[in-house]
Amino acid sequence: MNAIFKREFKSYFQTPIGFIILAAYYFFLGLFFSAIYKSGIPSIETVIMAMSIVSVFTMPILTMKLMSEDRRQKVDQALITAPVKLISIVLGKFFAAFAVFALSFAPTVIFEIIIATKISVNVFSYIYALFGMFLLGGALISIGMFISCLTESPVVSAILTLVINIIVIYMSNFATMVNNTFFSTILEKAAFVSASESFSENVFSIPDVVYFLSIIAAFIFLSVRSLEKRRWS
């Protein structure tokens, strides 16, 4: 797992992808921060949670090559015939993408310090918001990684991931279109944007944490299965 994590993480910065992702997050983090800072009641939690919009567009780029590129270049033969478990391959790749995502939030530490000089801050609330964002990001990465398993083309993977991201994050907006109250409630509650609300409000909500963790686990499992299935087809 270590070898794959190291290679994958490094490859993000051997190609422009890693830098593009970091630049996008840093730019929007700065933009939102300065807007909120001027508004008078600076809240780092709001800034962090606003990043879910940015993630809709960055995640497809982050995950598009994770699996598809290996298959296109036939490198998966080296990985699968090496004495490692499929789960280690998948986890190595997942954590590499996750590490890039986590790095994107580095500036928030500085922002928090800037806010702390002005008003008293709750560090736990900041950490909890970050934790929530990482859960949401992890869920998006695992979904993107699974989609990347399904195709040989990074472009197809990126487009498909973008569409899925928009749906899973904003499906609460479609709730009103559904007549059935049962389904509209599901759409409303299951949308990532509503499930992650509690994190910005410093409300510890076990269902939300479990919800995201189970999505991550499910799609990591599905990625392993999809690699496994390819051997059998």
């Binding site: 270049q73 990985l79 478990k85 051997r231």
Partner: protein
């Protein structure tokens, strides 16, 4: 070292590998020979655990590849048909990655240096793989297979697409490694297999159709001693002259391919070597012979025949009278 029993692989409705069984002892160098699409690569992919089998059992050094995949895979170094390379990495960096991936226990730097030297790519170790030529990429892939010094090497068409000099280098390397490794290599070039392997397994349409030593097979494959001669002469007269030679069973005129000459197919009785007699007779009749060569069929033609043959024909072909590429001797 490698035990394969009843191996089958089905892709949808297509049976790619059909009930294949063989045993390979430690230290053997085996050649898989067969036309494209015969199932060579599929068998190799199953042996290395890249693909799963539909039926059958593969045991590598006592470890079943489906039950103990990690232990079995640790024994194998695999060079697939297309070398699995991360082209955005440098050669040394890539080998370091493979080293980490395989969790090799040897000292890292020394081991990679050793492999780089063995495959002769130490001069390009700091270049990006995507900037390397096909021959070098092939060797980097080879080096990847050698990392960790596995007991078994499985090489899928290791010399395809290389220039003659590189082919010889790779062959020498395989020969050298064959002294202390068990090697399976595949090819559709008979002479290559003959040069390296002691034992040859011929695979066609997913089945093993021959499993024998290279010498036996090449004897079987090259038993045809018919000759083709080009002579400056009159067609009719010469046919009579050639028929008069002792040991000649049949003479067929092939027509004229060069102005003033005629080509003849001369078939001997009972595989007799009639080259010297034919030469003497033509000279003594006062005609000039321009060339005399074995009626050799190219390997492509053989494979075409093998692939098109049905079962009974196949038996016949592999019995005695298969016509093979032979050393073409030009005599004046």
């Amino acid at each position: 070292m490698i035990n394969v029993t009843g191996l089958s692989k089905r892709y949808g409705n297509h049976l790619a590998v059909d009930d294949v069984s063989f045993n390979i002892e430690k230290g053997e160098v085996i050649g898989f020979l067969g036309p494209n699409g015969a199932g060579k690569s599929t068998i190799m992919n199953i042996l290395t655990g890249y693909l799963s089998m539909t039926k059958g059992k593969v045991i590598i050094d006592g470890f079943d590849i489906t039950e103990y995949p990690e232990d079995a895979k640790r024994k194998i170094g695999y060079l697939p048909e297309i070398p699995p390379l991360y082209t955005d990495m440098k050669v040394r960096e890539y080998l370091g990655f493979i080293y980490d991936l395989k969790k090799v226990k040897f000292p890292k730097k020394a081991h990679i240096d050793e492999v780089l030297k063995l495959v002769k790519i130490d001069t390009v170790q700091n270049r990006l793989i995507k900037n390397l030529s096909k021959g070098y990429r092939q060797r980097v892939g080879f080096a990847g297979a050698l990392i960790g010094n596995p007991d078994v090497l499985i090489l899928d068409e290791p010399t395809v697409g290389l220039d003659p000099k590189q082919i010889i280098e790779i062959r020498n390397l395989i020969e050298k490694l064959g002294r202390n490794h068990t090697i399976i290599l595949s090819s559709h070039i008979l002479s290559e297999i003959q040069a390296i392997c002691k034992r040859v397994i011929i695979i066609n349409r997913g089945q093993i159709i021959a499993d024998d030593t290279a010498d036996n097979l090449s004897a079987k494959l090259s038993s045809d001693r018919s000759l083709v001669a080009r002579i400056i002469c009159n067609e009719q007269d010469m046919t009579e002259v050639l028929k008069g030679i002792n040991g000649v069973a049949n003479v067929t005129s092939l027509g004229s391919f060069e102005k003033g000459t005629c080509d003849f197919l001369i078939e001997p009785e009972n595989d007799k070597d009639i080259r010297a007699d034919v030469f003497d007779k033509v000279v003594s009749s006062g005609k000039k012979m321009l060339s005399l060569k074995n009626n050799a069929m190219s390997l492509e033609q053989i494979f075409l025949r093998l692939t098109e043959a049905d079962d009974s024909e196949l038996k016949k072909l592999l019995g005695d009278n298969i016509i093979a590429e032979n050393e073409t001797k030009e005599e004046e």
